[in-house]
Homo-oligomer: 316 residues x 2
């Protein structure tokens, strides 16, 4: 399968599945397991110091010889230093998000890296294409964590971006198995990025308390906080109720930021504080019935995809 | 194509495409054209008097011998009378929305009608199944007009509802061509409901001013107004700015309802008042480059679907 898939050929992977570079979840264990099973594992630099990132890159290399990548949110305070680490360590794939790709793409290319950029609307997709990125990741409003202001759904965003640019395209937000992979490829994407399903995997570096709590998302749902200035999809809890209370009272973004403070996602996702921490996750977690291993998840992508395409051919 | 599709077999149609029953758009011209081209045309009773609905049913029957349906929003003030008209006129398919399907499903079945119900979350899907409906339509947050409170995307909602119930399932919100149809079937749906693309068709009974304005949605985007009490997806304009100003000031739902008043969607969609009317439409309108005929739209579903499935088989 996927021998003619241009995302697989571009990145040197066996399945067109990129693991999301999520804060607190995407350490070396998760990244190396995904890469070892044929996808593209990603270290999430957004919750790492530059030294820790360098150490994690070393551990990925010890665990697998397959390609992997690093996600650097460009608005992250340590973005510049993390980027320097990626260059020095000859990381095969760089994924940039939350900022302009113009600054780093050429430099990353000089050092032989492939560059992908995450976008949430057509305008940024066109800008990223102009900046020379190798592929695009378009992420819809159902995705976990930080989101675009436009709140375009993955289904619609993928079709809009596919029409706007010929670049290899990765669809993100709402995918957890091979049926979703087939749907994304039907829409014209070349692959998918999967976050929540891997956040809730055995190899995820997040707290087991957080991972087990995600199995209740089918009942609890998710909410998008900080609409209009920094939309973030999370599991509702006391922290979210308090934040939404401030929003309803008309608190300014500055006042809301002050209430959120620093370390909220660490508190929720790494330390397992289910009430006062920030529990980032996508809507698709409502589908999860267990914490799965990367091997199981990757196998399901393959078998579900095969079954799905065979099922679709029966409609012809 | 679609010979083994259970939605097609249930409804007696050739393509698993149901036209949305939209206010001001879905009169006899649109409904009969969709049915005549192999989909299921739907009259939208939500903007009709019972007498007008009866007349429209007669006109559909004159224009086509193919099956068609009527959508009745159950919270609509004339729902009961419209339902009576559907029964007396032996309408083949009834689609209920915005209310409980428990009241009407058995009665509609007694009169030989097939019944579908529109849901926006898993709980209502299970309730509709318990009420005995023949099929479900699950509609995501990217859809135009009235939306569920949970704001689940079509991609996620379809997977959740598919897992929760074995009923024939129609996915709605974000679809406009055969690539989308293939994506929906990949996710396990049996067909799609298409609103916006048909709202922006030659046969749509909406104002040409409204239809031509929809071609700017790629730039203007859409917004979801009345979040939390009656989410409605529309094109932004003066009316929406004023409504959102009230929301920001903390106006109660009652105060917002009073500002909206009656006849807003008529003013926007039928009378073409682009500034002070309500212009309901889905996010997918961002893809439209022209007002198309139903024949073109239906042909694109067929050819795109075929091409898409053939393209997917090349990934195996």
């Amino acid at each position: 399968m996927f021998h003619n898939n241009r995302l697989c050929n571009l990145l040197g992977i066996q399945q067109p599945v990129i693991q999301g570079g999520m804060v607190w979840c995407s350490g070396w264990r998760l990244a190396s397991a995904v890469s070892e099973h044929g996808g593209l594992g990603i270290l999430g630099a957004g919750s790492m110091t530059p030294d820790f990132l360098r150490e994690q890159i070393g551990k990925v290399r010890t665990a697998t010889r397959s390609p992997f990548g690093v996600n650097v949110p460009l608005l992250f305070s340590k973005a510049e230093e993390c980027m320097q680490v990626c260059i020095e360590e000859h990381v095969p794939v760089l994924i940039t998000s939350a900022g302009s790709p113009a600054k780093w793409t050429a430099k990353a290319h000089e050092h032989g890296m492939k560059v992908g950029h995450v976008v949430a609307n057509v305008k940024f997709a066109e800008k990223a294409e102009a900046a020379g990125v190798d592929f695009l990741i378009c992420e819809g409003v159902e995705a976990g964590g930080h989101n675009g202001l436009e709140e375009l759904s993955t289904l619609v965003l993928t079709q809009l971006v596919r029409k706007a640019t010929p670049l290899p395209l990765v669809s993100a937000g709402g995918y957890a198995d091979g049926k979703g992979l087939a749907a994304a490829l039907a829409l014209g994407a070349d692959g998918i990025q999967v976050g929540s399903r891997f956040a809730c995997s055995i190899e995820s570096s997040a707290s087991d308390i957080y991972k087990n709590h995600l199995l209740k998302v089918g009942t609890l749902g998710t909410v998008l906080t900080s609409r209009g200035w920094g939309p973030t999809r999370v599991v509702p809890n006391t922290f979210v109720n308090e934040l939404q209370g401030l929003e309803r009272k008309g608190a300014s973004p500055e006042e809301q930021r002050e209430f959120i403070g620093t370390g909220r996602s660490r508190r929720g996702m790494l330390e397992g504080d289910l009430e006062h921490g920030e529990l980032e996750i996508g809507q698709i977690a409502g589908l999860f019935t267990g914490v799965a291993s990367v091997a199981e998840i990757m196998e399901q992508f393959r078998t579900d995809f095969l079954e799905t395409v065979q099922r679709l051919t029966q409609e012809l």
